[in-house]
Symmetry: C2
Subunit: 546 residues, 2 copies
């Protein structure tokens, strides 16, 4: 409910579709004024609508409607329920669209008949008819009015199965989501939005609806979050219709086909159909696994990323690289499979442990170096406030990082273009070696990447590609953020060389390095002599002191 909503809301729909009831509840819930256009006209003229029709004629009534719309429209933000035929008049539609959103409520003929009979008030059009004739009349009129109601910007079912307060909440949340301006990862029919807000846990159903996802959900998360994100997890569950939650055991070593199979067994036992939306709530491991599960369960179902760590917000949640580990290496079994949406709630950052925050910041600095000198300067200028996680700055940090990643991924979805998606690997080739040498988990991914960026910059300087001043600038920022300057153990450069190779060997045999030319630009470089690389690696070695 923290999201802003600025436009007037107009409800349209057939008689007894719930326009007035849902309209007034919506207004109450928002603390806005509510107007029933028909009633307003009746009050103003002191005549009932049938009398106006009879005495003044329909054209006169339509003019009164426009008059009323003009009047209430200026008193916004407000909610109004329209008459059954208001939209016949193009002038009315234009007035509504000018600063409002048109919400259509739909009910089946059976529900309408039931409601009409229940209420005391007369419905002149259906007066004095038996049920069968009423039903015939309702169906006839529904068919006739259908094109009008189709004009609505949003459509909601209003039947007895959904409690009014739930429907009201759903409408408000959907309207709020519609007013957000997400980033987009442009991938033709696989494009998707990235939302970055304070807290989106209560809006995930609306984000899913807008993205065209099925409304049957399963949240998949990590056992650690049961306590660490208890409140948000509950919010999420409640928003998603009290759906089930599946918990993975925590840790990189659980990122396996075996853990995945446990999820499949759970889903099959509970008969989750193809029309299911998985929600990945957690860090990178959870996101990668849930994405891969979505890619292969019944040959592919929808999923949404709801990352809870800085690293997963700015890196793994965006881009569709999903995978599990194999005993012989990380992320070797997987798929390129895009989420339907990414919903980032910055609030989760407040409880993030310092080392995990730092790990994410390494990737953030990386975006500056590979692509965006202005962003890099912004990080330099605001280092302290960022370390204090000042919300407005964190928002910018995450937004800009995601925007850069979205741009790179949009141009090279499957990492096939030379100098395409591979530039995101800046610092990663060396970082990978540090992770392997440290033993996975000993040195956090982001910190290994930061160290890898130092090595890459040094290599670039020694190849004459980068100035020493730019190397220093990168390293100063890393220092200021508190990134490690050295590999925490004894470093054997030759072992690092071997550890580094694995990923690349799997790729095509020759070693490619992503190296900076300046702050804001990196390029792939091949065939660097081993000696030169070993020398660059030495910058990560603990110095012997003065």
């Amino acid at each position: 409910m923290t999201l802003p909503l600025a436009r007037n809301i107009y409800f349209t729909g057939f008689m007894a579709s719930g326009k007035s009831r849902i309209g007034s509840l919506t207004a109450a819930s928002l603390g806005w004024k509510f107007f029933d256009i028909d009633k307003l006209i009746e009050e103003k003229t002191g005549k009932t609508i049938p009398r106006i029709f009879a005495e003044d004629g329909e054209p006169a009534f339509r003019r009164m409607e426009v008059e009323a719309l003009r009047e209430v429209g200026g008193q916004g933000p407000m909610v109004a329920s329209l008459g059954g035929g208001t939209l016949i008049n193009p002038e009315a539609i234009e007035l509504i669209r000018r600063n409002g959103v048109l919400v259509g409520l739909h009910a089946s003929p059976e529900v309408i008949l039931e409601r009409v009979n229940r209420k005391k008030e007369s419905r002149p059009l259906l007066a004095n008819l038996d049920d069968e004739s009423k039903m015939a009349k309702i169906k006839e009129m529904l068919e006739l009015r259908k094109p009008l109601y189709q004009l609505a910007d949003l459509h909601f079912e209003s039947d007895e199965k959904i409690p009014h307060h739930v429907l009201t909440r759903r409408i408000i949340h959907r309207l709020q989501v519609d007013e957000l301006k997400p980033l987009t990862v442009e991938l033709a029919e696989r494009s998707y939005p990235i939302y970055v807000e304070e807290n989106l846990a209560g809006h995930l159903d609306s984000i899913a609806a807008k993205a065209g996802c099925p409304q049957r959900f399963l949240i998949v998360t990590d056992q650690n979050l049961k306590s660490h994100q208890k409140r948000m997890l509950e919010q999420l569950r409640s928003c998603l219709g009290d759906c089930r939650i599946f918990f993975f055991k925590s840790g990189e070593e659980e990122k396996s086909l075996k853990s995945l199979n446990k999820l499949f067994t759970f889903m099959l036992r509970h008969s989750y159909p193809r029309k299911t939306t998985l929600v990945a709530f957690g860090g990178g491991v959870t996101g990668d696994m849930v994405g891969f599960a979505a890619a292969v369960y019944l040959r592919g179902i929808d999923f949404i990323q709801a990352p809870t760590t800085l690293l997963s917000m700015v890196d793994s949640s965006v881009g569709g690289k999903t995978a599990v580990n194999h005993p012989l290496g990380k992320n070797l079994i997987g798929a390129f499979y895009q989420p339907k949406a990414v919903a980032i709630s910055l609030e989760t950052l407040s409880t993030l442990p310092p080392l995990e925050f730092l790990s994410g910041m390494a990737e953030v600095v990386k975006y500056g170096v590979i692509r965006d000198p202005e962003f890099f300067a912004f990080l330099e200028e605001n280092t302290e406030a960022i370390l204090a996680k000042r919300p407005d700055l964190m928002r910018q940090v995450v937004l800009r990082s995601c925007a850069i990643k979205a741009e790179v991924v949009g141009k090279d979805e499957r990492e096939t273009a030379e100098g395409g998606r591979a530039i995101l690997n800046y610092g990663h080739t060396f970082g990978h070696a540090f992770e392997v040498l440290g033993g996975y988990g000993a040195i956090p991914h982001g910190l290994a990447v930061a160290l890898g960026m130092r090595v890459a910059a040094r290599l670039a300087v020694s190849l004459g590609m980068l100035t020493a001043a730019d190397e220093k600038r990168q390293n100063d920022l890393l220092d200021k953020l508190g990134m490690p300057k050295h590999f925490p153990r004894k470093l054997d450069e030759n072992k690092a060389w071997d550890a580094m190779g694995l990923d690349k060997k799997v790729d095509d045999g020759s070693r490619v390095y992503i190296l900076p030319k300046r702050i804001g630009e990196v390029v792939p470089v091949r065939d660097v002599p081993k000696e030169t690389v070993l020398q660059a690696l030495a910058v990560a070695r603990e110095s012997k002191g003065p």
Copy 2:
């Protein structure tokens, strides 16, 4: 080598690229005549080329070349090697293209220099130069001639690493493959060809090359085929550069994530890179598993289907549905992932056990019923010859079945359109129940489908959609082929109803039946009363006798 080749072959390339050597070997291998255009002109004129240039000028020489091309072109099929500058003349290109294919041979400047120095014969352009000047000259001329050589229809590297006979075979096979007219599954950038020939085992490298697949191969097959298809497997292996073969254990129960993981471990141990082509050689189980392995190994690599059973030829190899089983059901974990090509060698059918052949024929009949009355009539008319596996008829049977499947899949790749790909499930909903009730493996898939088609037709008749005459026509053909008329055990229709439901429950809750309206057309039908379905199921029950 059994594939036809009709066009003249013209070799072009820089000096010492091997035009004459490879050209004459190609001709010898095909039993065709060979002409060296330069030599032909020298013989005719009694002058050396340099002398013709000097005395008559280049324009005269170019006219002589055209003359020679016209003369040899009429003596085809033949192979000719062109002079280094023949393609300068557009008239020559036109003559070549008229009934021939232009093959470009390419060698690096280093290889060219080495060859030039090795040979005694004088290369006037390079005479009296030291190695450095020769190299500079070669590079300069290569750059100059590049646009000419790029005119070739096909390009081959001709270096010392590839033995001449291997290169010759590769060229011939590639030309043969180019003359084949495969079916195409039209899926935009995922489109792929289906080749149907007697034996393609020796041409798979060329099919892969034409499809743009990496030339590093791994054959994956089923342990049973080690003996059953020993000869073809060896042919395949030899054609694919003596690549490794990975054997899955045989049987539906081995179609699991666990078996898949064994393949991954094997591939990772041997460092198969992203640029690997998997070749699935075997039946449906192998094809489904290899396809899924290709979909997720390093997030997706190329694969080719080389099916060895009738069922997999006409069904699972085409369409990109890949999967493994889960203890809770068949094919529940998988991906839509298209092969780069399907290569069907009809020869494998000759050793196929009768029951497996029959199982495939059930799907064949299905194609007639769902889409093609003419094909159905063809099957009726040729039943006996088909049962005798007459090669020309089997070719038509497989081609037409694949064509229908390709058409249906092309319109609805991911089975999302109403009445799209789902029509391929004709007979399968009921068939599935029979498979479950029988215990998987007890009743072969195709035979269960045939029985399911009988039930579906009866249901259609009882709903007034299909004439009894058309039902009889379908069943008569099934009878004539020797398909079972009844479920081989005691049939409990209520249990069948429950067994049938599972797949659909997983899909969206309501039961959809694919039912025939006539021979050649089926439609999806929803909400059929349970009683009506149970009655139709009773046709599969063993009759009590008279």
